[in-house]
Every structure is written in C-alpha cells, then in structure tokens.
Symmetry: C2
Subunit: 202 residues, 2 copies
C-alpha cells in the first residue's frame, strides 16, 4: 500500500533531487518540497530561476579554484588584496568561511580535497601543481596552509610543504588552540596540549 | 571585511533562497549551494528543471486539499479506495505520512492548519465548510480526525465534530498510546495514562 501514488511523479522527482542536498534527508526533502509547492510564487519559481541562472553563469576560477561568475574570480582580480600571501584551503566552503570571518585580505588556492590513501586521492587529484606554479611567482612571499586539523589535512599540508621546499617562501599553518568562547572542559587532549605548548605572554 | 564580494550575486541569491527551505539554515544553505554548483550537470540543472516543471504543473486539489498535478487529485479519483471514510488531517505532510505508512485506504481532507486564537486562525481560514459539504454526501459513513495530539489540534477536532453533529456519521479520532518501539521510561505522563486507559486484551 505504501507505494501507491498519492501525488504526481513531478513532486516525487523534486523530493528525490532535494534529498541529495547536504543537510536534507528524505524526510526534510519532503517537507521542503511541500513548502516549495505551497509557496509557488514566493519560493519555487524564484528558486527555479536562481538555479537556472547559476547553472548558466557560475564557473570555477582556473587560477584559485573559487566558485564565481567570473574567471579569474573576484578574489583573484581584486587589486586591493595582498598578492604576496596565498591561503591554501581544502574546499571553497573554507575560503568562504575565512572571508566571512574577515580573517585575511589576500589570495586563496583551493586544493579540492585532501590526500587520502583510503579514498584513493593522490597528488594529481588535487590542485597542487597549480599552487606550486603560482607560488613561484615573484610577488608571492608566504603560503598559509589553512587545511583542516585532521590526519588527512595534516598529511596534505606536509606534502604541499615538501613541494614548495625549493622556493624562497615562508610556509605557515593555522595555530592550534582553544576556540574563542571554548570551554576547556569540553576540549580534547590534543587541543589542550597544543594550546599549552603555544601559550602566549599575557 | 566580511561583506567583501568573494563570489557572484547569483550564488548569494541562491543561498538566500535555499536558506528559506525548512531544515536548511544559512550555514547548510551555503553548503547546499556549493554542492549544487559543483554538481552542475548531476544536480543543479536537473533540480532547476524539476522545480520549473513542478511550478508549471502542480496544483492543489479543490476537493481534498492534496498537492498533485491533477485536480481532483489521484487520491480523490482512485476507484479502489473506500469512499465511505474521510481522514481529516491538518497538513498535506500528514496525508503523505499516513499514505507512506499504508495506514488507511480511503479519502482525505486537508484542513490547512488548526484553529489558533494566538495566531488568529479561525474556522473560515480552514477548509472546514468544504469538509462538512463532503461529509453530507450519501456515500460517507465515517470521519477519522487524524489531527496532531496538540492543544490546537484537539480544539480543532472538537470544533469539527460540532460542525458534523447533524450528520448521520461515525466520527472517530486516532488512539493515544505507546508508540511502536517506544520505551515507557521516555514517555510523558499523559501518553502513559492514555495507554493504560485504552489498554487492550492480550
Ligand atoms: Zn580565483
Ligand atoms: Zn483530492
């Protein structure tokens, strides 16, 4: 009985596609589809148009890997940014997070993942050659490795550092420590040890 | 610095619209937008098309309130269903949930919400008049009130029952009790009391 048709195949297809978005399971995809259909003028039609526009215009920056409607992207062509520093991130989401934080005012390079023996991701699967080529440019002075503090992230950071070894560059990584607002009681031992080792004068 | 442009306005608009879907906050909307853009051929373009199709074809059944591409909908026109029973639900999502469960094999009526003094929802804001008209049909023998076990849901059930009082119908409601797989220790007192009162011979 559960397989009986109660709504059209068009809505079933919408639910199936929505369920493939990160953060939406089958249940919330159904709720989202229903919301879309109920708010046809306010939400469904504008979203369909926004998606069609994005599909037509959005591209990946061949310089840094950012997602934008221009190639090179706005970050790469912004003349006010400090071109002597390149922040290396795993994913575009990390680039956006650092920008939202206003953490830096320089260029980026998106690797597109991390090295992973388990998932079969090798150096050629990541944008490492492009980074080395950019890093060899005369204006570049520092590479900041802003990869995740995971085993794969750190393995990747070591590999990238090795590839950059011949260049006259400063290579740095993000500090480990207590997150702002973080309570010591909830932090793991590795973070606490790192925070003690990197302690600062008060 | 945080307001600097790092990606195109087309993606910002996509993120803003996605954030209005239930289940997606601003953070997961960004992740979803990024996933869409990365999987342009596999996800973004098909979803844009599915939404455009749904916008063009989907309608609300004027008989029962279900959402479908046909009016009357597939439930209302299915000749194998028992037309003597109408299950009254608050929302289309509840209709779909009962159908997924295969709980009944009859018709439905979607009220479109519950009476709520707080939210200013009165009888005329719900599809109650339409229900009374349908319930007066000669083939209808039973109305099952499948509203939520909330204060507003129960208030609505009482109001609907009063409106149906003149008709030669059986009016029933869902049983209260222990959910299948539920552990007594985690249930509230009202549910436990209801489950004891409605106990069944073993
Ligand atoms: Zn770029
Ligand atoms: Zn219907």
């Amino acid at each position: 009985m559960a397989a009986r048709r109660v709504t059209g195949p068009e809505i079933e297809r919408l639910i199936q596609l929505l369920a493939r978005l990160p953060g939406l399971g089958p249940r919330s995809a159904r709720r989202a589809a229903l919301q879309l259909v109920k708010k046809k003028e306010l939400l469904l039609i504008p979203l369909a148009e926004a998606m069609a526009t994005a599909a037509a215009k959005v591209t990946t920056c061949r310089t840094c890997g950012n997602v934008d409607t221009a190639d090179p992207c706005f970050v790469c062509t912004d003349p006010r940014r400090d071109g002597s520093v390149i922040v290396v991130v795993e994913d575009v989401a990390d680039l956006w997070a650092l920008e939202r934080a206003g953490a830096v005012d320089c260029r980026y390079h998106v690797l597109g993942g991390t090295l992973s023996a388990l998932d079969g991701v090798g150096p050629d699967d990541l944008a490492i050659a492009g980074l080395v080529a950019r890093a060899a440019g005369p204006e570049v002075k520092e590479i900041i490795l802003a990869v995740n503090a995971t085993v794969d992230g750190q393995t990747t950071a070591h590999y990238v550092t090795d590839q950059l070894a011949g260049l006259p560059l400063k290579v740095s990584r993000l500090a480990h420590g207590v997150p702002v607002g973080g309570e010591l009681d909830y932090l793991d031992e590795g973070t606490l040890t790192a925070a003690i080792r990197s302690r600062q004068p008060f």
